[in-house]
């Protein structure tokens, strides 16, 4: 089992959800996050006082899946979220030790 964490542009979330649903990938956890990478600071001005916006609003999507699903999901994320510009975000893949469904106590793949 793997955990996929994708940090994406907020505007891409709805389309990503739809494309993943077509693959019957339904479960996900979504966070509003702030972060920075290569994207250039944005300047703001308040009564002439210059302020740099150096943390950008992004969305983090966490998806848990079986190992052989990982590449297909990455493919969908790249297709939907890549504009070719810096600021598109990143994907992180983690190995996952176990899953427990709280309502039934099922574990591992059964809990997915």
């Amino acid at each position: 089992m793997k955990k996929i964490e994708a940090i994406i542009r907020p505007a891409k979330l709805e389309e990503l959800k739809k494309e993943l649903s077509d693959l019957e990938v339904r479960g996900m956890t979504v966070y509003n996050v702030m972060g920075r990478g290569l994207q250039k600071d944005i300047k703001q001005y308040y009564r002439g006082q210059e302020v740099s916006l150096d943390l950008f609003p992004k969305v983090k999507v966490e998806i848990i899946c079986r190992d052989h699903w990982v590449e297909r999901i990455i493919e969908v994320i790249l297709k939907v979220c890549s504009s070719g510009q810096i600021g598109d975000g990143k994907i992180f893949i983690y190995p996952l030790e176990d899953i427990i469904r709280i309502s039934s106590g099922e574990r591992g793949d059964d809990a997915l």
């Binding site: 308040y46 002439g48 006082q49």
Partner: protein
């Protein structure tokens, strides 16, 4: 039968009223109030009052979200405190009989002797009580304006005492000097609606208070940004709207002069918005909403002393000059000098008010208002000197008195909240409430009561 009964009841009531102790019967020879003027000034008084909640929104949007209620509470508190102070003491100090050109006498203490007919000296076509109410609203907005300078750090208890002392010891004498027959009236200084009394006095007092209290924590390390500019825009809109009552109402009648004041007020606000935005667009490349509303307020401040004395064309020129001037004051001068006038009370009201008072000495036209005097562009070099004296006197008096009042309060208590209270935010630490949700983290479950 019914009519007869009605008139009997009415005459009985009239008798009861005129013989009631405490309500003085006015002498019959006094002029009756003009109904048009009276209606107009009552509405204008309400418009000027609306400026203070407008200011609460204007300022509230500019502070961080942990302090928005504290600044709004200060504005609301001034409405309550000064309304009572004015009736008890403030009006008579401002408009009572002249004592040595410095202060009003005490004959109107508790508004005794002020009735339903006009005063012989002020607003002679409106009931004296209407004049009292109209002038009260100016005292309220002036004290409220100062709160922006020390926003996000003053103790509320200190604020309450400061407002009462400041209004009594600074505003009331100043209003007497300029409008109540004091020495600036006699000198011939022109101040149509309060450029010196309201804007310079609040601006300079704000600057002094900001210096006495010191900077907000973290001011050197990080930018302290407005939390809700839409609130600020709404507040500015209410200020602009209320300002019609402020300036047009200062004609004290529904007449041509009020019309002139109305028109130049709107024009100068518009030109101020245009010129501020133009200045920042050239300076850093972006036309901001915050700049547009700040420029409009700067324009409104500038036209205040001049409203009944200058032409619409002169008001365009004043608006075009005051925007860049105030923009430089808040974006450059404040940074250079390093004082923390949180919401630019001095930068806009002090600087804009000073400009307006001097510009009145330049653009005033006796052809427009026979009660006025010609300014510099009509060949009179005297008026601008008188205006400069009025400006200087206001700076020295308001600055010095504010310093003394704060030092006096400081003998009994700290003026500032503790560093920890400041960090937490004044809404929670002083007032026990939060503007948005229950906590900074957006957590909206709390256990009830004490644990």
């Amino acid at each position: 039968m019914k009519t007869a009964l009605k008139s009997l009841v009415l005459s009985g009531l009239t008798w009861a009223i005129i013989t009631m102790p405490g309500i003085p019967v006015q002498a019959a020879e006094k002029a009756a109030a003009d109904t048009g003027d009276t209606a107009f000034i009552i509405i204008c008084a309400a418009l000027v009052l609306l400026m203070t909640p407008g200011l609460a929104l204007f300022y509230g949007g500019m502070v961080r979200k942990k302090n928005v209620l504290s600044i709004m509470m200060q504005c609301i508190a001034v409405m309550a405190l000064v309304s009572v102070q004015w009736v008890l003491l403030g009006y008579t100090l401002s408009f009572g009989s002249d004592q040595a050109s410095l202060i009003g006498g005490l004959e109107f203490l508790g508004l005794q002797g002020i009735g339903l007919t006009p005063s012989a000296d002020f607003g002679t076509t409106i009931p004296h009580q209407v004049f009292v109410a109209f002038q009260l609203m100016f005292a309220i907005i002036t004290a409220s304006l100062i709160s922006g300078a020390f926003a996000e750090r003053m103790k509320f208890s200190v604020f309450v005492v400061f407002v009462l002392l400041w209004t009594t010891l600074v505003y009331d004498p100043l209003a007497h000097w300029v409008w109540g027959g004091g020495w600036l009236t006699k000198l011939g200084a022109l101040d149509f609606a309060g450029g010196t009394v309201v804007h310079i006095s609040s601006g300079v007092s704000g600057l002094v208070a900001a210096l006495v209290l010191g900077r907000r924590h973290g001011r050197e390390r990080e930018a302290i940004l407005p939390h809700s500019l839409p609130l600020t825009v709404l507040g500015a809109a209410l200020l602009w709207f209320g300002w019609f009552g402020f300036n047009a109402g200062s004609a004290l009648g529904a007449n041509g002069l009020a019309g002139l004041a109305f028109l130049v007020t709107n024009t100068c606000a518009a030109a101020g918005a245009l010129s501020w935005v133009a200045a920042e667009w050239i300076d850093h490349g972006k036309p901001t909403v915050f700049g547009a509303v700040s420029g409009a307020v700067a324009g409104l401040v500038a036209i205040t002393p001049a409203a009944g004395f200058v032409s619409p064309l002169s008001s365009v020129i004043m608006g075009l000059l005051v925007g860049p001037l105030c923009y430089l004051a808040v974006s450059r001068v404040k940074e250079k000098l390093g004082y923390d006038d949180s919401l630019d009370v001095f930068g806009i009201h002090g600087v804009g008010g000073t400009f307006g008072a001097l510009a009145t000495g330049v653009f005033a036209s006796q052809a427009l208002n026979p009660a006025g005097v010609n300014g510099l562009i009509y060949g009179n070099t005297h008026l601008i000197q008188v205006q400069a004296v009025a400006v200087l006197a206001t700076y020295v008096f308001a600055g010095l008195m504010t310093y003394l009042i704060l030092k006096a309060i400081g003998l009994f208590t700290d003026l500032r909240v503790t560093a920890e209270e400041e960090e937490t935010g004044l809404d929670v630490s002083l007032h026990g409430e939060s503007a948005y949700g229950y906590s900074e983290e957006g957590q909206n479950t709390l256990s009830l009561g004490a644990v």
